[in-house]
Amino acid sequence: MKTGNSISRAWSGAWAVARRELSAYFRQPAGWIIVALYLLLCGAVFSVMVLAPARPATMRPFFDVAGWLLLPVVPAVAMRLFAEEYRTGTIEPLATSPASSLTLVLGKYAGGAIFLACMFAPTLVYPALLTVYSDPAPDLGPIATGYLSLALVAGLYLAVGIAASAGTSNATLAFMTTLFVVLGFLLAGWLGRSLDDPWRSMLYRLSIPSRTGDFAKGIIDTSHVVFFGGAIAWCLALTVGIVQWRRWR
């Protein structure tokens, strides 16, 4: 019963933090600007590269570009999650509440993830348009796995970003750290090509393009899902560790 109460309190605390994060994104111009720019570029890519006459009915070019666009967008979303709290001192009332570090991290991660989901949601109109206007109709399988891939990649970037944000009071530094770590994940396969095994295969396995290729073809390989899930969990655990460690300093 006590465990049940603790879980319910932790859940309610995490949800409170997530709601606050979400309202902070939408109450500041920066949140709306990020969403608008992302949708503008995605819309341009969709109209030029997907919704063009004589093109096959596939969303693949959209997912390729949407994935690359996450590179600046997600670090920008993640950078303020903890860094801003440390800079302004609001971490103090937050950390002295009954919410644990894990609750705070999960709540902030969920807030960022819901914001990204809100950013992706309008793009669902594209497959709907494609279904209406294209003949033959597009294969919905690769579209669904494409969105799953986008969500997993964004989730990983966000997890890297929240860890970077917890380590500093400087949001710009958090942004740059996330950007470089994520670039490392993106370019790992390419960097490994000039190396010998086991480094080559290890870097290939860490490379994001090597993990997302199957999703683009409509295949869900559980090893890829486990890779993203494991990496996200690892980054979140690291964030909890950093938040705890900053209490000891």
Partner: protein, 325 residues
Amino acid sequence: MPMHAAVRVEDVHKWYGSLHAVRGVSFELPKAQVAGLLGHNGAGKSTLIRMIAGFLTPDHGVIEIDGVDVETDRRSAAARIGYLPESTPLYPEARVEDYLHFRGRLFGMPWSARGGGVSRVVEQCWLKDVRKRRIGELSKGYRQRVGLAAALLHDPPVLVLDEPTSGLDPTQVREMRGLIRGLASERTMLISSHVLPEVEMLCDRVMIVASGKLRADGAVADLASRFTPGGLEVEALVHDEHAAGRFVGALGAIAGVTRVDQRAVGPGGWRRYAVHAAAGVDVREGVARAAQGACVTLREIAPTRATLEAVFVRVLEESAAEGTA
């Protein structure tokens, strides 16, 4: 059921790298006591407050809030304490009411209790007019009250306020003090402040921290008698300078008197003297005899009332002397 101190701090230490910021501080606050924590910048006061509030972890020692160890049961301890950090950090984009609801959710308050709690603290902290406003649009005084309302929302038995009036204008300071005084009857409070008259006005007990150690602890009057030598304020009618010289000489000759200062000459020839004496020596009878001998009419003999400022300065001097010894 055993009675716990509202706050118990036992042999607490904190290091920042090689800097020993808090050095073995111990004290207990009984229930419903209002204590002031004084110290200059860098004395270790804010570190101590932050450890009591659970924001920083002590490297050694135990801190308990209402019998609950802050380290081993942080969640329960946090529920028993209301904390207003220095400079009242808040989210500027949030509306007052939304922020208070957020705090309520964070403290696990159910919806029904939260609504009532928010209305109560809005009333208590005079926030009714601004409850729908964004925090970033409010004056510093209002923001401070929002911080206090957030600290009170879960109705904690212990309230820890770090510099609650810093940066406020005189009117806001008066309002904030009034607010704090109103809360004092119900709760144990620990108030950190630089403003000595404020501590004197609000607190039953004063603790002075210097170089990370608790250097003085007690009621203002007790500290005054402990840290300032005994002495009297004397008012006497002295007709001319010759008589004044004789009177001062006679006062100075009293056993235990260390110094005599003439303070002021009032209308009608009434003069005030400060008679400094060694601690614990009663020189009142000697003063009366000196007046009689010098043919001076006495109007008042009153013990010198040492101010908190004098106590504070004396404690810091002692601490500095100890540091250089």
